[in-house]
Homo-oligomer: 562 residues x 2
């Protein structure tokens, strides 16, 4: 498609890559035990594209002509596949809907501008025609930010930034790079890496998400403890609005009033189209290690993370899984052959003799970057803290394996859908003092939802980011919907997802740490930032986009805005 | 005044404290040489308050009754002194005006609410009466954020938060404190310190500025390299608006859309009244040292700071002065007696023999905090970098002295005004790659302005904060206005100040790193954040405060807003 590659129209990632269980002998029994799904039963693959009914485009000749003039003949596309690719992100509800051919509203046209001037021409044309514009990066969004409202009567234009994918400039003295918004993670890091630099931003979606998307949703990455969240990394940017361009020059800090930079961060297309950004970049680290540790309990693991955050060590990654997620990780391991399997078995035997309840053990990964001396010192500090909390070091082997495989996780949801399981994620952040309340409340809320539905559900969690005052908890839940009716499947999914989100705001946590608001979390925004705080956001959106032409429905529920 | 202490009505700080030159023998010759002012000539002290004509209050009975009911009889004040105290901040133009009895518009009433409910009652009463509300903290603002527009026809209410000065709560597990907005720096640190905690925020105005004021202007402190700017420190807050309260719970990070927290930071009273905040606090450091270094040139000092920022050391303070500021520092030293003076003379002789041009030498302070091992390690890293750039260590003596005296600098402006000199500051931030351009451009712009005015002027600078991608440069300039006419004095002041600010935006720097926009910098906002970026800010302000009741004229020039 015009040099821009897309993910599968029906699922995560690229064609030909998928999750398999055949090489992971412990997984089938684990899944059967936890959610009652038999991985050996015949599944239901995604449908063929030809079996999907795609609504016809509503693009009129006049707007088509203006848009064609804006981007050129080759970069205006109305074919069904391209429009369907741009209809959904990759949230669980998106995946269920697309597999069911549920397409109430599909963008009428996809445009692929090649530079900012073309973006300006598109934005101006869309607003002049009172159409709707939805910016599209890698399409990995899982909060419902990319889907046109089902009742949208106006023409919907999806603006794909995929052609704007270059690192334009590296300011070596400042450690800043000027980068086009449409660049995908691997492409960005390849271009920076070739010059000896890295941005260090590694969200789970890394392979299929873009810089502009990260900025528009306030993304975080696996290494954000060191490199900062995207809000820290982004120092300047350009955003196209109707008739004009917001230009924020790169600055390390400024007191020029309410931060317009921080208004654009997280704006999810509602204030305009981000075309490029100045981002912090760093010299590639001399050394990089991810070490696995094992804690006797979740409480011990969390306490260790809090202590590491307050210590003089500043690791690049701090992660610890609860017992359920640890069991899941062990269940997805490939068959250990020879000496490795034996060592692992021997270790577990030793821990049992020491009184560990292995069902309660929690796996942790800590990442270290920098000069040899720094890495050694931080490892020593962390090692002491781990020991003080009863943990043990497993070594770099599992850490390296985790590092290689970390971007493969999203494929599992499609695999589970094939066999009739619904799985999704919700992440949040809260002060250290509330961590256990949020965790217990959320696990309880999910279990109660499973009980209400009468299904066998599973929920697991890891701490994924540490800050001075708190942390991010990242939950994954799965259950068999117990019905083939798609509407009923979605209703049951929302029963669980809503229970989790409601528990977040009820226990003092936020609706999302790094997935954004979209339409999926918009319902809880008032409970998160207060009614008056939501009014402030509405004032901003209304003032900038009075015609609601820019990704309407995202961030604020439509009825709240009017 | 109702238990709330204020600064001098005519100048910086408290009655009885002032800057003197008699104990600093090198200062008079220095000042005579640099700006041609004779410190021994008879000066003009500030006028007596009784000689000032204060416009009568315009407060009507109806609003007076409502406000009295809101805060109680004792906490509504209309006397002249209190209203004059609340008319100006402490910018140079403010000081010149108040000494001249220039009072075109004075708040009509000052109210001192005791809690958030009283603030709500005041805000509601003011907006219901279509009056104007100006929140007031310590009154240290130097950007013109506190002064009612001269042509404001409506009643003006100054809301002094001085009674709301308590640390309400410390969350020890999270390292967070909930603090009322009206607390002054020393009071805040005393309350936290008594429990073993510190917020670590030390702006030059520390003794006379408040938490709410820091948040409303996006303040930074001397130790922000370690503790973060106030935007980093502030994790949650409450802000009163007409009829409602924005409540942002403390969160380490969130992706809940455009950041309302970051809209309130820097809002300078235009979105409401900040009543309390959740702030990051830290255990009092085990060790704290500030070490002085000397570099052979400004370029060497700046290069060293950039290298320190990129190193594994993370000092709490990074500061280096240019040659002019270094000369000024040496000129304000008290007479060195005995061995100390001799050591200093001997050192300078050694440096001259090594080929240093002592006129070019640049003084630097680096601060270290933490455990013994950490402080030692960071000192070793910095020591190597200093050496590599030709610098030498002077030791902890001058550093400790600087640390004791650092909050006294603002008194110098009043001292100079007594003897007929105008002195003020402008600070900015920019990427490391632009540092020298901004510096040279600003020094040149100031000198050209001095030449246009035909005055003998002086400008000096220090780097005050370091970030990954850049730094803050802090300029101080002084000159004799060459006229007794106050209007002409102000015009000449603006000639220089404007040249400096214009140079900032022309060379890629921001209009302010931590003093805010106010009315003084509003003229350059569009050049800083672009016209379209300013439109975004205007949309926010208009949407939240359509009646322009909340500190109108600040941030955005009135004519730009309509």
């Amino acid at each position: 498609m015009n040099g821009v590659t897309h993910q599968k129209w029906w699922g995560w990632g690229v064609e030909g890559v998928a999750f398999h269980h055949e090489d992971k002998p412990k997984l089938a029994p684990f899944v059967l035990d936890k959610v009652g799904i038999d991985l050996h039963a015949p599944g239901t693959p995604p449908p063929a594209f030809d079996d999907i009914a795609v609504p016809a485009t509503r693009l009129g000749d006049e707007l088509a002509t203006t848009l064609r003039r804006a981007v050129g003949e080759d970069y205006l596309v109305t074919d069904d596949l391209d429009r369907v690719v741009h209809t959904y992100g990759k949230g669980l509800a998106d995946l269920v809907k697309i597999r069911a051919g549920h397409l109430p509203r599909v963008p009428d046209v996809v445009v692929y501008p090649g530079d900012e001037d073309e973006v300006r021409a598109v934005v101006d044309a869309v607003v002049a025609a009172d159409a709707v514009l939805i910016p599209f990066g890698g399409g990995s969004n899982i909060s419902g930010s990319l889907t046109p409202p089902a009742d949208e009567e106006r023409v919907v234009v999806s603006l794909d930034l995929g052609r704007m994918n270059r690192v334009l400039e590296v300011d070596e003295a400042a450690g800043l790079a000027r980068v086009q918004a449409g660049v995908l993670g691997p492409d960005l890091e390849d271009q920076l890496g070739a010059r000896g630099w890295t941005m260090g931003h590694q969200p789970d979606s890394f392979r299929h998400s873009t810089l502009g998307g990260w900025i528009a949703t306030r993304s975080s990455g696996m290494q954000s403890d060191k490199y900062g969240d995207i809000a820290d990394i982004t120092r300047g940017l350009r955003m196209v609005q109707p008739g004009k361009v917001v230009v924020l020059r790169p600055l390390p800090s400024t007191s020029s009033g309410p931060s317009v930079r921080e208004m654009i961060l997280g704006s999810e297309g509602r204030l305009g189209v981000i075309t490029e950004a100045w981002v912090n970049v760093h010299r590639l680290p001399e050394n990089r290690e991810i070490i696995a540790y094992l804690f006797p309990t979740w409480a011990a693991g969390l306490a260790a993370m809090a202590e590491i955050a307050a210590s003089d060590a500043a690791p690049s990654v701090t992660r610890v899984s609860d017992a359920n997620e640890t069991q899941f990780s062990l269940a997805t391991q490939k068959k250990s052959r020879g000496i490795k399997g034996k060592v692992s078995k021997a270790l577990f035997a030793v821990l049992e003799r020491r009184g560990w309840d292995l069902e309660q053990a929690c796996l942790s990964y800590i990442g270290y970057e920098g000069g040899k001396e720094r890495v050694a010192r931080e490892k020593a500090i962390v090692g002491k803290i781990v020991k003080a909390h009863g943990g043990i070091k497993l070594g770099t082997g599992p850490g390296a394996l985790y590092d290689q495989k970390k971007f493969d996780t999203p494929y599992i949801r499609d695999f589970l859908l094939d066999v009739g399981g619904l799985a999704d994620v919700s992440e949040t952040a809260m002060p250290w003092s509330r961590l256990m309340d949020v965790y217990s409340g959320t696990v309880r809320a999910a279990r109660e939802a499973f009980d209400r539905l009468g299904v066998k559900g599973f929920i697991m969690c890891h701490l994924s980011h540490s800050y001075h005052s708190g942390a991010c908890l990242y939950f994954t839940f799965a259950f068999p919907p117990g019905t083939d009716d798609v509407e009923e499947q979605l209703a049951r999914y929302w029963e669980v997802k809503s229970a989790v989100q409601q528990s977040f705001v009820d226990t003092g946590a936020t609706i999302s740490h790094h997935h954004g608001v979209g339409t999926d979390h918009a319902h809880w925004l008032e409970e998160d930032i207060s009614e008056a705080g939501t009014d402030v956001m509405v004032a901003l959106l209304r003032g900038v986009d009075p015609g609601r032409n820019l990704n309407p429905g995202t961030l604020i529920p439509a009825q709240r805005e009017w």
